[in-house]
């Protein structure tokens, strides 16, 4: 008798449970729709706000032809004295406003300020034509610098016009840099901050709060939700700290405030990772839980950014806000419905498992495999019956699943996300990508450490959406030479390509090419002579001689970590290191980021207090790409050898092949191009402006050849005379001594006037304008 009620109750429970599930499903569905709707609203807002396409009016160009600059220029020039380069740049930037452009300029000559002032002036003169400028830079300090420049410009405007400018500009960065929440901001890694923030601000958590008051929410976000949206950010220039201070003062979350404010800001400054990869925040970790390393979307962009490292992109006029949309995935994926085979959660999980097993089986190999995405897709279809279509939706489906499950901490699922992203990308692109599976690393051929590389051969894929979305894209950097290769690689047609040199009142850079030791043995990092004891000794002698005559800091670059280790070890044996240490302290860059930043800090301290120091680092390393050695931090830079890439790498080989097939770029050309660009990048670290000076020593015989030399940026090339080619160490020392003494003489602003600085009258004279157009080296 007692069985029945129980059973009955059991049925009840099941039904109750079902009802609950049903309710939950409805709720999440509603939520999904809600978020989707909000997303579209925002998108619309952006396009309404910003989609005023830019057309450079005839009138404006007419003005230019008559030598009349736009409003704002006159004001600026009457006060500041123009840089000559600055004037050149302005003129070219005008042309660029009609399309895309590539400009090469030495650092510290006013790239940023000239572009900014041009666009601001243009915005002021024709407020309807250009509505928005996006300025992308790489690192947070660089972003801060740009904001600083902009502040100066605005101050100047205010001084000249005497009224407050109605202008909003702000810097945008990740949550980690903007968070003011006391607990969250103390976390060390960006990933943790993102996760924690997400767990306190996600919509479902906030709605849960209504039922359960114990849920912790971010009060800054709440405050912002409640009040911040009604009142737009007041006009002004905000850098990250300003935003934070403003957020603290008002009690609003600066991150969301900034995100919201970009809708109506005139200028937005942020890292180009955002522009190229909106997923970057999610994809911090490349490590998979199962020790499978995969290189995909994130890596691909990284590759790209390696290619264009140092580039700053200024983008004028936009159609949609890229930050909110996804540039990689074509629209049809976003619009198409998720296919039936993975629509339910169980099926999807099963699908993922199958995919994972397949990947695992692929990794269990003994030899290197290289294949194209279609091959891979065919194989996966044959082996585990996974079709192309569901693969394409993998990433979207996973995201919606995670959302539905109300998982707050996405960071735990980074591995699965990575796989799903890989699946989506591999099925979306059939061209320009390659899959390489290596069972072991080259250095350790016995230890199995399978790695699956999914690498992008074609950097134009990543940049394409950017070119499509924006009216004008300007790429500027100190090291872009040779210019013609970029449009080829990135697949676009610039209206302007120009390389500027520095007009200098004194020659503040001294490139020297050292080809021989004092014993007349040719020095080179060529593979055949790399282990030669005479070469190593001569390199050592060069460094020790230079350490005796160069004040403060010297930066020395090697071609690879391995080469550096070998050389330093043999210097130690030969006692050269001891000699060097008598003059200066030695710091070494290692692969460990924390260690390197420590070394860097100590290096700067040693330069600062007069002890003097040498930093041994590696081309393509962290030091060579993001860190400037201004003034005394780098009085000389020595480039030991030509920094060719590791040519045995399979990814590189595949890439070279692709370039040859698709763009008709010869392997050798590309390798030299790449090596010289890195060399220029390295030596360019020391000259950061006109008042700065530094020696640039290229210690390799091969630099003397014109095919190598000709690929250096023009501003370096023009200072290489015949007298500075193929020198011996002795001659180098003598020339350097002379140069350093000359540079140490007092240098005043008046000396530059008329040469590298122009007054307003000089600028407006016909003659000077003619000269300026001659200087800009049109490619």
């Amino acid at each position: 008798m007692s069985v029945y009620p129980k059973q009955y109750a059991g049925v009840n429970i099941v039904e109750e449970q079902r009802a609950k599930w049903e309710k939950k499903r409805i709720r999440t569905a509603k939520e999904l729709i809600e978020t989707e709707r909000r997303y579209f609203e925002q998108l619309e807002l952006v396009s309404v706000n910003a989609a005023k396409a830019l057309t450079v009016s005839r009138r404006f160009l007419g003005n230019l032809e008559h030598g009349e600059f736009g409003l704002g220029f006159e004001n600026l020039s009457s006060h500041l004295h123009f840089y000559k380069i600055y004037a050149d740049n302005m003129e070219n930037a005008f042309k660029v406003l009609q399309g895309h452009g590539v400009l090469e300029m030495p650092s510290g000559t006013g790239k940023t300020i000239s572009l900014l002032s041009l666009i601001v002036a243009y915005q002021k003169a024709y407020p309807l034509d250009v509505t928005k400028l996006i300025y992308c830079s790489r690192t947070v300090p660089e972003i801060e610098k740009v904001v600083e420049e902009l502040k100066k410009l605005m101050e100047f405007y205010e001084k000249m016009t005497g009224e407050k400018q109605n202008f909003l500009a702000l810097a945008l960065s990740s949550r980690k840099n903007l968070c003011v929440h006391p607990e969250v901001s103390s976390l060390r890694f960006g990933k943790d901050v993102d996760g924690k923030c997400h767990s306190m601000t996600a919509s479902y958590i906030r709605s849960r709060k209504q039922q359960n008051p114990g849920v912790q929410l971010c009060r800054f976000y709440e405050e912002f939700e409640a009040l911040g949206r009604q009142v737009p950010l007041t006009a002004g220039i905000f850098n990250l700290d300003d935003l934070k201070a403003f957020g603290r003062q008002k009690g609003w979350c600066p991150y969301f405030l900034a995100r919201y404010s970009i809708l109506h800001a005139n200028i937005v400054i942020y890292s180009y990772h955002y522009l190229l990869d909106p997923k970057i925040a999610d994809l911090v970790s490349k490590e998979l839980a199962k020790k499978i390393k995969e290189t995909d979307a994130a890596k691909l962009r990284e590759e790209y950014s390696q290619l264009v490292q140092g580039l700053k992109e200024a983008n004028v006029a936009r159609e949609t806000d890229v930050y909110l949309s996804n540039p990689v995935l074509p629209d049809e994926i976003l619009q198409e419905a998720v296919p039936g085979s993975i629509r339910t959660a169980e099926h999807f999980v099963g699908f993922l498992k199958r995919l994972l097993e397949y990947l695992k089986s692929r990794l269990r190999i003994q030899h290197v495999v290289q294949e194209s995405p279609p091959q891979f897709l065919k194989d996966i279809y044959e082996k585990v019956c996974i079709d192309r279509k569901p693969l394409r939706f993998c990433s979207e489906r996973l995201r919606s699943l995670l959302r539905t499950l109300e998982i707050a901490d996405i960071a735990d699922f980074s591995a699965v996300t990575l796989i799903s992203n890989f699946a989506t990308l591999v099925s979306t692109y059939s061209k320009g990508f390659t899959i390489i599976i290596e069972p072991f690393e080259d250095k350790t051929p016995t230890i199995a450490n399978p790695v699956l590389h999914f690498s992008c051969m074609d950097s134009s894929i990543a940049i394409k959406p950017v070119f499509e979305r924006f009216q004008s894209v300007v790429i500027t950097s100190g090291t872009l030479s040779p210019l013609d290769i970029y449009p080829k690689i990135l697949d676009f047609h610039p209206v302007t390509m120009a390389s500027f040199t520095m007009t200098l009142a004194r020659t503040c850079l001294c490139p020297l090419i050292v080809g021989r030791g004092n014993d007349q043995v040719a020095i080179s990092s060529k593979f055949e002579t790399r282990e030669d004891i005479a070469v190593i000794r001569n390199y050592g002698n060069l460094l020790s001689e230079m350490s005796a005559i160069v004040p403060d800091g010297i930066v020395a670059f090697f071609t690879s970590y391995q080469y550096m280790e070998n050389i330093v070890a043999s210097w130690y044996e030969q006692g050269i290191l001891e000699n060097i240490q008598r003059n200066k302290l030695i710091f070494i860059e290692t692969q460990d980021a924390a260690e390197t930043s420590m070394a860097l800090e100590k290096y700067q301290e040693a330069c600062e207090n007069g002890r003097g120091a040498i930093l041994l680092s590696v081309a393509r390393g962290k030091v060579s790409e993001g860190i400037d050695f201004v003034h005394h931090f780098g009085r000389a830079v020595i480039m030991f050898g030509v920094p060719y890439v590791y040519t045995q790498s399979r990814i590189l080989k595949a890439r070279l092949e692709y370039l040859r097939d698709q763009f008709q770029i010869r392997e050798n050309d590309f390798l030299t191009f790449d090596a010289m660009r890195h060399a220029a990048q390295c030596v360019g670290r020391v000259i950061r402006g006109k008042t700065d000076y530094g020696l640039m020593i290229f210690a390799d015989k091969r630099y003397s050849r014109s095919d190598k030399r000709g690929k250096l940026p023009r501003w370096i090339q023009e200072h290489i005379s015949d007298g500075s080619l193929n020198l011996t160490i002795d001659e180098t020392v003598q020339l350097s001594k002379h140069f350093l003494r000359e540079m140490a003489q007092p240098f005043r602003k008046e000396d530059q006037l008329g040469l590298s600085l122009l007054t307003l009258e000089q600028l407006q004279s016909e003659e000077m304008l003619k000269k300026i157009t001659q200087i800009a080296h049109q490619v």
Binding site: D552, N583, Q734, R741, A744
Partner: protein
Amino acid sequence: MDEEPERAKRWEGEFERTWELLVEDESGSLKPSVEDILFKAKRKRVIESQGQIRLGMMRHMYIVLDASRTMEDQDLKPNRLTSTLKLLEFFVEEYFDQNPISQLGIIATKNKRAEKLTDLAGNPKKHIEALKRAVDTTCSGEPSLYNSLSLAMQNLKHMPGHTSREVLVIFSSLTTCDPANIYDLIKTLKSTKIRVSIIGLSAEVRVCTVLARETGGTYHVILDESHFKELLMYHVKPPPASSSSECSLIRMGFPQHTLVSISDQDSKPSFSMAHLDSTVGPGLTLGGYYCPQCKAKYSELPVECKVCGLTLVSAPHLARSFHHLFPLDAFKEIPLEEHQGERFCEGCQGDLKEQNVYICPSCESVFCMECDLFIHDTLHCCPSCVHSQP
């Protein structure tokens, strides 16, 4: 094995490019360019003198001499040390000639230490002797800016407020070995109003730039030996007296030199007070300068009386320092073609042949370059102005 064999021969020395200094003119001759170089060098010093600025009259200066390993470098001939010492001897003479009531001391630094060669004193002979002795010192180790500056500071900070406190560093090395943070020391130097100027022998070192900028001194790097001399001479002229420095009345004694002949019965040889603490120097002498306050005897002036602390000077000394208070304005330079009027120099009565002539702004007299230099460097007053004034 560590020590390199000494490079004795000229051809073993370093590679030089002496020809690069010379430029040919259109006709292919070198002479104009050489003359141009000489001319420019002569002119430079005069131009740099500023207008009417009150300069300090009483100076206390320490010279810090770098005697580290780098001083053996042979880019100055025969080597940096010898060349520097020779120039310093000249400097010391010139210094006391122009600033007779000032004092000087020398500190040498090597092997991370600093030692005093001479104390602050107003007697050029002692310093020159010390400099001559220093030629034989071996240069080794690294210099220590910190140690030498703190040594100088200890001595200088007790000097009265109306005098200038200066340190001139001759810095050859590119590194310094300091026991503590030098930036703290720079702050202290600044607060004690010690002015540190530096002459670098090799290249611009950051810490020196900061040091000079913070303490209000100058920092120059030499190009060659003649430039070195020029830079040294720049320090002969007193620095502008800062407005914050105290103005005070100082008591000074003007002792008469009394000559006593041996034949005089009353005469007794006596010691000069100046030689009390030094073992060397002359012993008993007959005549000398007697302090008007306490009658202590000194054989040389200027000096601070060891007994009563009175500053003893002679009238010509004061007069020679006096011109620093009223420096002569630089003369106007115009090309010879533009000059109308008499074609001879007011000073030497010679014909005006050079490309430029110089005109005194107040009396409009014309001078040749040689006379211009002589007037500004030595006379310190325009002869025709003096002549026209009753």
